[in-house]
């Protein structure tokens, strides 16, 4: 058994050495595969990180009710009491029109804005937080219900855009998977072709080996190990490339997220994802090589 592993180790080493003997050609080949793979991986990483952030936004949506300017204290009290009685409302916060104007002054840095205005143009507002676990459909219903309250001029769903973005990112993630799958198929085809060429180039050697007692697995082994190295190295290269892309894109995304007072961290592949990528890449390359070997070795007849 030990001997068996020793022989495999020899073949693995031999295959790697053969690749290193043609460094430029093999590196170009690996780079081609790695770039193709890093496309869906980077898309997956970006869309995944954004979706995580957007998911947090939609998890705690808020509905803002703007009152009509002519609303009076009694109207406010009526809205307040129906909000506190509503079963789907977890909490709400009242922002009076005076406070809203003060906030605006502070935030925009336009002190003295009040002096320039004849009257306060801002309405009273309620910021409503629905109960956790409310489904998107129920949120829609709630919003409609609340906008029907007396003297409510407009209700605004804070997370509506976030939900739309979330849906969009959902498509992006699906696209990444789809791209990944098609690049996976491409990987199988490319290794199939590479191994086919190798077999054709070494046809004479294979024929002689068969004549003097080589088993099919002996003949196949160098090709399968070649595919193994291609799968492993291109996955690692892809990891490097996607990390590079991510590190390039992270500052821009950070800036964007700061606009919303948020902090989105764009991370590279974690260990589990890297292992899965490497495993899948090796398996697909191996599969392509195996197909090519089986197909062509059957054609090489010993005479």
């Amino acid at each position: 058994m030990k001997h068996f592993f020793y022989l495999h180790w020899l073949d693995a080493r031999q295959a790697l050495r053969k690749m290193l003997r043609q460094p430029v050609g093999n590196l170009l080949n690996l780079l081609m595969l790695a770039i193709a793979m890093s496309l869906p991986v980077t898309l997956f990483l970006t869309a995944g990180s954004l979706q995580h952030w957007v998911g947090k936004l939609t998890a705690a949506p808020q509905i803002t009710l703007f009152m009509e300017l002519s609303a009076e204290q009694a109207d406010l009290a009526a809205v307040q009491s129906s909000l506190s009685a509503h079963p789907r409302v977890a909490s709400f916060r009242f922002i009076g029109r005076d406070q809203a104007l003060r906030d605006l002054e502070q935030r925009s840095g336009l002190s003295g804005i009040r002096e320039g205005l004849d009257s306060n143009p801002l309405p009273d507002a309620f910021v409503v937080t629905p109960k956790a676990g409310t489904t998107p459909d129920e949120l829609d219903m709630l919003q409609k219900e609340l906008s029907g309250l007396p003297m409510v001029e407009q209700s605004q769903f804070d997370a509506a855009w976030a939900r739309r973005l979330h849906g969009l990112l959902d498509i992006a993630v699906k696209l990444a998977w789809l791209l990944g799958a098609s690049f996976g198929i491409a990987l199988v085809l490319i290794t199939h072709n590479t191994i086919r060429m190798q077999i054709l180039a070494r046809q004479e050697e294979i024929e002689v080996a068969k004549l003097i007692g080589a088993t099919d697995s002996f003949i196949r082994r160098p090709f399968l190990y070649h595919a193994f190295w291609v799968g492993l190295l291109s996955a690692l290269l892809c990891w490097g490339l996607s990390s590079l892309f991510v590190s390039q894109a992270a500052p821009a995304l950070n800036e964007f997220s700061h606009l919303y007072g948020e902090n989105i961290s764009l991370a590279g592949l974690n260990l589990v994802e890297l292992a899965a990528l490497t495993g899948a890449s090796i398996l697909l390359c191996w599969f392509g090589a195996r197909l090519a070997a089986d197909h062509h070795l059957r054609k090489v007849r010993a005479h």
């Binding site: 024929e207 002689v208 003097i212």
Partner: protein, 217 residues
């Protein structure tokens, strides 16, 4: 041991290379196979090494019936046979050493022991010191010897040689025959085919004569 029992080989297209042939070659025997080209000598050797399968009858090699053997088992039979091919089948993309190494790689020999064995085999056939040479630079006779070294390096129990003395002058051919005799002396079953019978007669060994796929009487 090699045993043919009523063996017929018909090639696709209808040509009958061997007809109803029965004979036995004992373990450790040295036998010559004579006949003109087309008499069926090569086909007989190919049946023993499992390169071709008998159309009918049975071929027993080391107590295994090759006609019934699954294709996946064939390599293990061949690993016990050394073949000197008529066209040598040397690989020209690698050194003399690596050519002889191939059979040992196939049976998974330990590398250090293998190197020693390769050198011993090259020494035996008179190619010591040429291990790093590429086969193109060898003469026809030397290529023949290289092929013999590759056939015996894994110490097979049966050695088959298809026309090893063809295209060689008589002195060289005698050298090669002496080489085969020395393998026979250490217990290897040796079967040599040739169309030139004068070489064989000097050795006083059994000669199987073929004519049109049958024994020539």
């Amino acid at each position: 041991m090699i045993q043919f029992d009523q063996v017929t080989k018909r090639y696709p297209g209808g040509h009958e290379a061997l007809r109803n042939l029965s004979f036995t070659i004992d373990s450790g025997e040295m036998v010559f196979l004579a006949g003109h080209s087309g008499a069926g000598k090569s086909t007989l050797l190919k049946l023993i090494s499992g390169i071709e399968r008998a159309t009918s009858g049975s071929v027993l090699v080391n107590n295994q019936n090759l006609s019934r053997l699954r294709a996946s088992q064939l390599p293990y039979v061949r690993q016990h046979i050394g073949i000197v091919f008529q066209d040598h089948k040397i690989l020209f993309d690698r050194s003399v050493f690596d050519n002889v190494m191939l059979p040992l790689n196939i049976i998974g020999f330990d590398r250090r022991d293998a190197a020693r064995r390769v050198r011993a085999a090259l020494d035996k056939v008179g190619l010591a010191g040429k291990e790093k040479v590429m086969p193109v630079r060898l003469s026809g006779g030397e290529q023949q010897r290289l092929c013999i070294a590759r056939a015996v390096v894994h110490r097979p129990s049966i050695l088959l040689a298809d026309e090893p003395s063809a295209n060689l002058d008589r002195a060289y051919a005698l050298d090669i025959m002496e080489l085969f005799k020395s393998f026979h002396q250490v217990g290897v079953t040796v079967l040599i085919s040739a169309h030139d019978e004068t070489l064989m007669e000097d050795y006083g060994r059994r000669i199987i004569r073929l004519r049109e796929g049958q024994f020539a009487s």
